[in-house]
């Protein structure tokens, strides 16, 4: 099977997965208890709203209507605020990407660096200390770390803003260099919360991968040839240990999307996670389904990207994948 055929097959499977997720979420949120009515609202008012939202129709009819609208690029309107779901989600994606991007950079730069450093100094004091520190951070609940960072660096030291994505007076919109810096300034604490926990995990995986590779013959050969240690580590050991890194990179997408729900809520970050969280609480069905759709697309795309990157990084995997597919189809 050619690479193009493999890719096409994966794309078709990805569409099927997204469709299944949307269907599952649609049914789940509609059969979950609770109605999209504000608290203490009169029952007659609630009934009228229910009718206007089309919730008086049968579930299959609602589902078909949703799919038809979706096929026309219409994800419906939010019950809570009337905005088109597509617009609401589009407004949050830059914020989520900004936060996830910053967290990913911190996660992988710090995690990779620490993992390599620990592997090079394996079983020595720095390795032991860092191992325990990363284990401690990895075990921390993210919400707890978030509250701690807010308390220390926001409230007590006042080094960073307490929540929000920008200064509401000076930078309601990003229109200057100051506002770019302001936006980054607001990103520090939420990104640090997500990134630190991620980096702790990445460091542990990377250390293990480095040590695994260190036992390989080609690494011993490189040392025996008298290559400088830096070159052995960076060229021979790290390069081959990067497969773990690439795999974790793909898996980080769902983590950042799901982990960000809590972090976006605590830090009042206007991202997709917070939108989804609020929508679930309000039983805002179109927004819940819309965010699930986008999240599943991102996760599936992340996994696809990982597979492609792994194939590029390690030709053996390409061969294996092709052979496996051929074996299955034979």
């Amino acid at each position: 099977m050619t690479g193009a055929a493999w890719l096409l097959r994966r794309l078709v499977a990805s569409v099927a997965i997204v469709f299944a997720v949307v269907t599952f979420v649609f049914i789940l949120i509609h059969v979950a208890p609770g109605r999209p009515c504000p608290e203490n609202v009169d029952r007659a008012v609630c009934d009228e709203l229910t009718r206007q939202f089309g919730l008086d129709k049968s579930l299959p009819e609602q589902y078909v209507r949703y799919l038809v609208a979706l096929a026309h690029g219409n994800m419906g309107n939010s019950y809570a605020n009337g905005r088109p779901v597509g617009t609401a989600i589009a407004g949050t994606i830059p914020f989520t990407l900004q936060l996830a991007g910053a967290a990913l950079v911190l996660d992988f730069l710090l995690g990779l660096g620490l993992g390599i450093y620990q592997a090079v100094r394996v079983n020595r004091l720095p390795d032991v200390v860092l191992g325990n520190v990363t284990l401690f951070i990895y075990s921390l609940p993210t919400f707890w770390l978030a509250l701690l960072l807010l308390l220390v660096f926001g409230e007590k030291l006042r080094w960073f803003p307490v929540g929000g994505a920008s200064d509401p007076i000076l930078c309601p919109v990003v229109n200057s260099l100051y506002c770019v810096v302001d936006r980054l300034w607001h990103t520090v604490l939420p990104a640090a919360t997500l990134g630190l926990v991620g980096a702790a995990g990445t460091a542990r995986f990377q250390r293990a991968a480095m040590l695994e590779v260190a036992r390989q013959d080609y690494v011993r050969t490189a040392r025996a040839k008298g290559l400088p240690e830096r070159r052995v580590v960076l060229r021979h050991q790290l390069r081959n240990a990067l497969l773990t890194f690439v795999t974790r990179f793909g898996l980080a997408f769902p983590f950042l999307l799901t982990g960000a729900v809590l972090i976006e809520t605590i830090f009042a970050w206007p991202g997709m996670g917070r939108l989804a969280f609020d929508a679930i609480l309000l039983r805002d069905y179109p927004v819940v389904t819309g965010t699930a759709l986008i999240a599943s697309v991102v996760v599936v795309a992340g996994n696809l990207l990982t597979d492609i990157l792994l194939g590029l990084a390690d030709p053996r995997l390409r061969v294996r994948a092709t052979t496996d597919v051929e074996a299955v189809t034979a």
Binding site: G82, G91, G154, P168, Y178, I266, A268, D278
Partner: protein, 559 residues
């Protein structure tokens, strides 16, 4: 390749560059406003409104912002009087008079203008009433207007209200529930599309502040209307900053990143705010009370009586088993009071001398024994005909306070041999289960407007069946007393009747009235003339001011 020296200096260079860029960027801070009409107030709000279209929004923040954007014809004064028109403050209506017992005539202030320059007319008033009354708009305020028969325009500045009957709160009903809408903006929008109409997110009002921008999930900004016909507001800019977590909202005011948090809710928050040197703490009467509702109908078949709570004596015993005063002290300290009935501290009928069931566990035990609820099998839980005296307490997971109360109640019921299990579920699920009668007991909160009439009737009489009287409490004597109280023309005449009504209800124990919060607010000390009207803290924001010598950076910013 970098030399060792260069390698060592690389991180320092990076830090230097970052600081340099940040420093340069910081130089862009703009400032300049001076004088009495500068000032910015940032409110740390814990919820974001769905829409700013008044008839479609009942949430608190939408109301706070609506106070600044849309005027009523008149509004209650600081006395919160709702009988007759005493102490009502003119807003859009310059004056009013009665034209017979059922006809109220408002004369609009000819200076009033919409923010797009159009005059506010009687046609707007007529349009507003019709919109609020349209079932398609599904306004939560519609039930409160049912005694107004019609609103018409006599001329462009005269609106005429006709009532179905005569009662003391006619004026209050005419002015309090409706914010006047711009007919020229909303008439072209089909009513069934109002909830999705762009107007709700970019409103054109007639109030002291104009809408500037709404950054979803971040903030809403308003700016003072310097031509406002009742006088230019002293604070130039108002910003509601949305933070979906109370603790973080409180942190924002403590860290000097917001100026107002209007409800601190917990004793810990009040203490933290008191320790912040730039903040002042203000108190005002709260408009919410919280109670344990007993459902008198069976959860699985609401046509049948509840096997436990249909029995008045059992309800009374359970009420007597609860030490509300010590629970309050333990959970809320001095931040709340035990309500003497179904009322918040906002209501003028509040009277601590209203007779209530005493805390008396011995009596509670005797009553339960007498009703046949005894621990026959020795398992520590009373039972009768093989059924244990056990039930569920429902409350929303998001409320820490109600969770605390649920645990305290569970413990107090356990002490008299009653098993209470805790059901913590999402708010939407609580609403649905309570609304459909599928619960045993639930810890619920009710917000009062300044009038006891509509709220108490809706929640505790037959008028609220299928509505807010979730526990389906009914007592003919109580309803007779309420009917009499709401027709009294003065507070002095109404008070004894309300008291008798509350004592009748308390004796029936349709619920256990747990706490009525006093509101504690944090406000930046540079703000002067801070006044909170208890039913709506933001109603008088336009009178707050920041003296020129107390302006800080965010007050001076020009854009």
């Amino acid at each position: 390749m970098l030399s060792a020296m260069q390698r060592r200096s690389f991180p320092s260079l990076t830090v230097f560059l970052i600081l340099g860029v940040a420093g340069l960027a910081a130089c862009e801070r703009r400032g300049g406003c001076t004088g009495a009409n500068c000032g910015t107030i940032i409110d740390a709000a814990v919820a974001e409104p769905g829409t700013l279209l008044p008839p479609s929004s009942e949430d608190i923040v939408a109301n706070d912002i609506g106070e600044q954007l849309f005027l009523k014809l008149a509004d209650v004064g600081m006395s919160e009087n709702t009988l007759g028109d005493e102490d009502f403050q003119p807003l859009l209506a310059q004056k009013w008079e009665w034209d017979g017992p059922l006809t109220l005539v408002f004369h609009l202030d000819p200076r009033a203008r919409w923010h797009d320059g159009q005059p506010v007319t009687a046609a707007d008033v007529e349009f507003t009433f019709n919109a609020y009354n349209d079932s398609v708009v599904a306004s939560p305020y519609r039930p409160k207007l049912h005694r107004i028969a019609s609103v018409t325009q006599r001329d462009s500045l005269t609106a005429v209200f006709r009532f179905r009957e005569q009662y003391p709160e006619m004026f209050y009903d005419a002015v309090y529930h409706m914010r006047i809408l711009p007919a020229h903006k909303l008439r072209p929008v089909p009513r069934d599309q109002w909830r999705t109409a762009p107007f709700g997110r970019e409103p054109v009002g007639d109030g002291p502040y104009r809408f500037v921008r709404w950054q979803p999930a971040q903030s809403i900004e308003l700016v003072a209307d310097s031509t406002f016909f009742l006088g230019r507001p002293a604070i130039r800019r108002l910003i509601w900053r949305f933070t979906p977590n109370l603790q973080v909202a409180v942190q924002q005011v403590i860290a000097d990143q917001a100026d107002v948090r209007e409800q601190l809710v917990t004793p810990e928050n009040v203490e933290r705010v008191r320790a912040a040197k730039q903040l002042a703490v203000y108190t005002y009467r709260g408009n919410v009370y919280t109670f344990l509702s007993f459902n008198q109908r069976a959860p699985d078949d609401t046509t049948k009586p509840h096997p436990i709570f249909a029995d008045r004596e059992v309800r009374r015993a359970l009420a007597m088993a609860v030490d509300r005063a010590s629970m309050l002290k333990s959970a809320l300290g001095d931040l709340a009071k035990v309500p003497p009935g179904p009322m918040s501290a906002l209501l003028w009928i509040w009277d601590p001398d209203i007779r209530q069931l005493p805390y008396d566990t011995a009596q509670a035990n005797r009553v339960l024994n007498a009703r046949g609820w005894r621990d026959h099998d020795g398992d520590g839980v009373r039972d009768k005909d093989g059924q244990p005296l056990a039930f569920h307490i429902l409350f929303p997971t998001t409320s820490v306070l109600r969770r605390q109360y649920a645990l305290l109640l569970q413990e107090q019921f356990r002490a008299i041999g009653v098993r209470a299990e805790i059901d913590a579920v999402e708010g939407a699920v609580v609403n649905q289960r309570v609304g459909t009668g599928k619960y045993d007991t639930a810890i619920l909160s009710r917000a009062n407007d300044p009038s006891p009439s509509s709220g108490i009737a809706q929640s505790w009489t037959r008028a609220g069946f299928g509505g807010s009287n979730f526990g389906r409490y009914y007592n003919a004597e109580f309803e007779r007393l309420v009917d009499r109280a709401v027709t009294a023309t003065t507070r002095d005449r109404a008070r004894p009747t309300w008291r008798a009504a509350m004592e009748t209800l308390n004796a029936d124990a349709p619920g256990i009235f747990l706490y009525a919060l006093d509101n504690y607010a944090a406000v930046h000390k540079r703000v002067d003339n801070v006044q909170f009207r208890p039913d709506s803290w933001a109603a008088l924001l336009r009178t707050w001011r920041i003296p020129p010598d107390k302006l800080i950076d965010r007050d001076r910013v020009e854009r």
